[in-house]
Structures are given as C-alpha cells and as structure tokens.
C-alpha cells in the first residue's frame, strides 16, 4: 500500500499549465484518473497556486509512470520536468507542509487550510477518499493548527508592501478611514497602490505630472485625481503619502513646505513612504513631530530582518511536521491484519468481561456450575460474532501491509483506544 502525491505548484509550473487541470475537479475526472492509475483512493487539491493528486495504490513498480501518464493524457502536455512526485513519508510530510502553508506563495496565509478541507469534503462526497486519505487529511489539519499556534510563521511580513502596511497599522487606528495620496501614476505606483487597497485603504487621491494618467489610475481604484500643482492642498488632507515619482534635481516635498503643511493639518500624523529612486522627499521631514518618514531602503531592511526571523520559525515548524509524520506512519503500521485482529478480539473480550462483572454481582443465587455455563456461553457468543469479520479480513488481506479494511474495522469498533490501553499496560 503506497500513499503518493503528484503535483504542480507555483514554483514548478506556470499558471497556464496548472490551469489545464481545472477540469480534474470533477467526480468523473477523478474516477477516470483512479481507473488509469489503479488507485484505491484519491483526493484532488486544486487552488490558484497548485494542482495535486493524492492517491493510495497497491505497492507495485512503475507507479510514477502510471501517475504521469494519466495526468499527461488529461492535459495533453509532457509534465516530466514540471511536476513533483513523493511517496510514503515524503508524501505525508508534503501534505502537512502544504496544509500548514509552508509551501504557499505567501507563507503562513490561512486560506490553504480551508481549501484542503474543501478538497477532502468533495472527495468524501464522491466516495474517492477512503480511510487512509481521510485520516491523512484530517491529520494534516490538526498539524496545521499546531504549526499556526506554536510558531510565528505567518507573523512576519517579508514583502516591502506588507511591511509598509504593517507600519501604517502601527500609526493609524483604522486604515479604512484614512486618505492615501499617491504621487505618480507609473507601474511602481500602481503596484504599491494595489497592495494598500487590498489591505483596506479606501480613500485615494492620485496626483501626477500629467493629469490624464492620474485620472486613469484613479478611475480604476475609485479615487480622485489631480496634478502636481494640487500637491500642497493634497498634503493637508492626506494621512498616508506614497511617493513614486522622482524629480531630476531636488525634492518634491521639502522640509519648510512640510512645516507649513503641518500647521494647516493641526499636527495630524502623516506617514510618508518614499519608494521613488532617487528619493523624492527630503529625508529631514522625518525629524518633524507627527511625521513618519520611511524610504524604500528602510522597508527593505525590515523585510530582510523579518525574513531571517521567519526562517527560524520555519525550523520549528519542520520539527512539528516530522513529528506528526512519524505519528501518522505509526498509525499506518498499526493497520496490518494481525494487530487489527488482535485488538478486535481484545475489544470483544473486554466488553464480555465488563458485562459479566456487572451482572454476576446481581445473580447471587446462581450456582458455581451455572456460572461456568454463563462464562462459556458468552465466550462462544463473542467468538461467533467475531468469526465473520475476522475471516473477511483474512481473505482480503492477501496483500501485506496496511489495508484500508483494517482502518474501517478499527474505526467501527473504536479499536484504537484498545490499542492505546494495551500499550499503556506494557
């Protein structure tokens, strides 16, 4: 029995290539793949950054080729270089990493966990997810939760834009109520604007040398526009200034000008971000009270620092993942026929013992012979009950290793607890 994953993600393949698998998120398609691969179980995880097919197959050679061939048939492309392939321990750890958002484009984002849950739900509805993958996915959710609460993996923002937003949040109470003044309408300006709008900034004013370009950009984000002549008035009302335009000589915003503006704004705090190269704002405005000035280099420095901190958290996360991987494998290995049958018998015997103990006390008038008879009777009863399930399990377990039937039986009769109890007694 082999658990494996074949997939393409944002690192290995282009958006277009991954897009070709959107059709795989259907019951028919998944069943088709399973037939071709001869898989016993399958779950498809498809998000904007990845396509992954998790399967459980009988352990025989040529597995990777079978998987590749099935996917290539579906997409009509050669995927050898673009896909990754993991089996067993590596596949388990891979899913845990994906669910914990260690493999995401934005590490630590929470969305992927919901997407993985949805993938499992769908596979369960179609009946393609069996006991092994169901357990694996559920285990990955609890692992993700542990990673999230035990490490600060999502805490550190490592892109310049997110650092800027974080800074804005430590100055202002609510970004939605703040006005953003964007100086410039070029590519750089647009990119920065996009990030801030995504993070909740709603009131936007764009000023630019050519008013037309400013108007165009403003229209797209629902803001208003002006030209550089409006700069002073704009500075009086804005809360966040994002400057992405550099002038040939000197600055766009000077110290003296800023002092005048501050008087007009009654000292309301002003956050100035200078992302133009060369700088467009006189650095000394940062010395004024209630003016917070950051240039591109500062943001990058913080982002780098965070990057280093995050790497440290990553080590912690990997420790959790390898620990959980080991735990899942432990469960897998407990699924072999012999130990399942043993715990099944133990469980029945335990029930018999409990019931006898409870009722024998009440039957005080029963003679010793009758007692023995009752003992025999109950023993025969459980043997008869156990006979069919055990012979079924023996018949279907011609293959060595973990068999899904064991997992079903274990779940139905709560055998895991029995095993744990026995384990404790040792």
């Amino acid at each position: 029995m082999v658990i494996s994953v074949i997939g393409l993600n944002h690192k290995s393949a282009s958006v277009d290539m991954r897009g070709r698998f959107s059709a795989a998120v259907q019951e028919e398609a998944v069943r088709g793949l399973m037939r071709e691969i001869e898989a016993l179980e399958a779950v498809v995880l498809y998000t904007c950054n990845r396509f992954e097919l998790y399967t459980v197959t009988e352990g025989e050679g040529g597995l990777r080729e079978r998987h590749l061939a099935a996917l290539e048939k579906m997409s009509g492309e050669s995927l050898g270089e673009l896909s990754y392939w993991y089996t067993d321990e590596e596949a388990i750890a891979h899913l845990f990493r994906v669910s914990s958002s260690l493999d995401s484009l934005v590490i630590g984002e929470a969305q992927i966990n919901g997407q993985a849950k949805e993938a499992l739900r769908m596979a369960q509805r179609w009946g393609t997810a069996g006991p092994l993958l169901t357990r694996l996915f559920n285990h990955s959710f609890s692992t993700a939760k542990e990673v999230r609460s035990e490490t600060g993996i999502g805490k550190y923002q490592v892109s310049v834009a997110s650092v800027a937003v974080q800074l804005a949040n430590s100055i202002f109470e609510k970004l939605e109520e703040k006005e953003l003044l964007l100086i410039g309408a070029g590519k750089m300006a647009e990119k920065a604007l996009k990030h801030l709008v995504l993070r909740g900034v709603e009131r936007i004013l764009v000023v630019n040398r050519t008013r037309k370009n400013a108007q165009e950009l403003a229209n797209r984000f629902g803001g208003s526009a002006g030209d550089l002549g409006d700069l002073n008035r704009a500075l009086e009302t804005a809360d966040i200034v994002l400057s992405a335009v550099s002038v040939k000589d000197g600055f766009l915003i000077h110290l003296d000008q800023m002092k005048r503006v501050l008087k007009e704004r009654k000292n309301r705090p002003l956050f100035i971000l200078d992302i133009a190269v060369p700088r467009s704002v006189d650095r000394s405005v940062g010395s004024l009270d209630n003016v917070y000035y950051y240039e591109l280099d500062d943001l990058e420095e913080i982002a780098n620092k965070h990057h280093a901190l995050r790497s440290r958290e990553r080590v912690k996360a990997e420790e959790i993942i390898s620990e959980q991987t080991a735990r899942y494998r432990e469960w897998l290995s407990s699924l072999n026929m012999v130990s399942t049958i043993n715990s099944f018998k133990d469980k029945l015997e335990q029930i018999r013992g409990d019931v006898l103990l409870r009722f024998m006390n009440r039957l005080s008038s029963v003679s010793k012979e009758d007692r023995e008879l009752i003992e025999q009777m109950t023993a025969t009863l459980i043997n008869k009950i156990a006979h069919d399930p055990i012979s079924y399990l023996k018949a279907v377990s011609s293959v060595r290793g973990p068999y899904p039937g064991s997992a079903v039986l274990q779940e139905m009769f709560g055998l895991e607890e029995i095993r744990k109890e026995n384990h404790c007694r040792d």
Partner: protein, 271 residues
C-alpha cells in the same frame, strides 16, 4: 480578612500584568484571557473588601484603612477592563497591572492613619470629595500608562527599530485618543472633587483657600490638565508633546498623592 485580601488582590494585579506581558511576547490569546481573569478576580476581591469595610464602619472605613490605595488600584483595573476590546491590548494591560500593583503595595505599607481631623469626617460631602478625586486620579493613571506606551511606540517608529515586537504595540493614534479621553474624564471628576474639597475646607477650617502645599499642588494639577486639554482642542497639539504633558501631570499627581506629607507639613493630613 483585610490582612490577606488586599495583598492577594495586589498580587493578582501583578500576575495579570506579567501574564499580559507574556501574552504580548508569545501573541497567545488564551494567555491574555488568563491575564484578564486575574484582573477581574483581583478587582472583585478589592471591591468586596471595600464593601465589607463600609458596611462595618461606614465612612470611618476611609480612615481605618489606607483606603486610597485600594480604591485607586481597583479603579484603574476596572477602567482597563471597561475601555473596550479593541483598546485592551496586552502591552497596555501589562503596564496597568504593574501600576495597579505598585499603587496597592506602596500604600499598603503605609501605616494606618490615626489622626483626628474633626468634623469634616461627618460631612456628607466628605465621601463624595474623596471618591471623585481618587477616580479622577485613576483616569490620570490610565492616561499616564497610555502616554508612556505612546512614547515607546513613537520612538520605535521614528527611529526605525527593526525588532518585530513593536509591531504588536497598539497604534499611535489609538494610544493618543485613549490618553486624551482619559484625561478629559479625569479632569471633569477632579474638578468636581476639588470643588467639594473647597466647600469642605470652608466647613472644617473656615476658609475656602489656604496657602497650603496640598491646596497649591492640587490647583497645579488641575491647571496642568486644563492646559493639556486646552492645547489639544485649540492648538492641535498632539502626539509626543501631549504624551509628555500627560506624564508631567501624572508625576504631579503621584507627588501630591504620595510624597507630599513626607516633605511638607499640611493641614490635609489624609492622602
């Protein structure tokens, strides 16, 4: 009962403060919940203590215990619990816990006041004067904590500190707002407190005003906070300068409250 209830409450405040600090560093919500729980228990211990003292000996209780310390520390914690979920941040909670603990210990160590001050005790105005003034002081303490945090966070942002902890401090704007709200409320309470004090002074000693250190300093405190509110409203002074003013005002409060009697001889023999 008072022998252990009040110290236990103080220790609960300290524990709450430390837990808040722990919650700040580890960013764990459940730790913060423990910290708040610790505050709530401490608060109710103090409240219960005040209630039973009052039932037993009425207005006398103000004299028989270092009433002011218990009252201010429990007020301060109550204020923190009431400022709303958004403003209750672990960093502020840590400061409040430490401040409440400090207030409750320092005055616990103070010997019980035994001196008679005459008929002022019997006046109906007396408990009103004391509670209003002390509640005002509690608001100023809250403003002081918030201002201190503001100065720390502002420094961090200005000097471009790279350590990530300062990203988890409350935003400058919210701290600034909290300070000014607390000061405005405290000022209103103090104004009524001093007004009743002046009337009591007339009843007890015959004149509204004396050139006594307590009178002068109280007026000074009132003026500092009046100035603070005035420059904020009409001059748009905010941020760092306002935070410094909050701290100056609070330092004056602390001195009037604690240090005055050690240095000067004053008519106003109770805190």
């Amino acid at each position: 009962m008072s022998d252990f209830v009040v110290p236990i409450a103080g220790i609960l405040y300290l524990g709450g403060g430390l837990l808040h600090f722990f919650a700040l560093v580890t960013e764990r919500k459940e730790v913060e919940r423990f910290a708040l729980f610790s505050f709530v228990v401490g608060f109710f211990l103090h409240l219960g203590f005040l209630f039973f003292q009052y039932r037993e000996s009425g207005v006398e209780s103000v004299r028989s215990i270092p009433f002011a310390s218990v009252f201010v520390s429990c007020c301060l914690v109550a204020l923190y619990l009431c400022i709303g979920k958004v403003r209750r941040q672990p960093s502020l909670g840590a400061l409040i816990g430490l401040a409440a603990f400090a207030v409750s210990t320092v005055f616990w160590l103070k010997p019980t006041l035994g001196r008679e001050i005459g008929s002022a005790w019997d006046s109906d105005l007396f408990p009103i004067h004391v509670t209003l003034t002390l509640m005002g002081y509690s608001f100023f303490a809250l403003a002081g904590c918030s201002a201190l945090l503001y100065l720390l966070a502002e420094r961090g942002i200005k000097q471009k500190w790279k350590w990530p902890l300062f990203f988890v401090l409350p935003s400058l704007e919210s701290l600034d707002k909290l300070s000014i709200h607390a000061v405005t409320n405290g000022f209103a309470l103090l104004t009524f407190g001093l007004a009743t004090g002046v009337v009591l002074s007339r009843q007890e000693w015959g004149a509204y005003w004396y050139w006594d250190p307590k009178w002068v300093l109280s007026l000074l405190i009132w003026m500092v906070y009046a100035l603070l509110i005035q420059v904020r409203l009409f001059r748009g002074v905010r941020g760092r300068k306002l935070a410094y003013l909050c701290l100056v005002g609070f330092a004056a409060v602390l001195f009037t409250f604690a240090g005055l009697q050690l240095l000067f001889n004053t008519k106003h023999v109770f805190v």
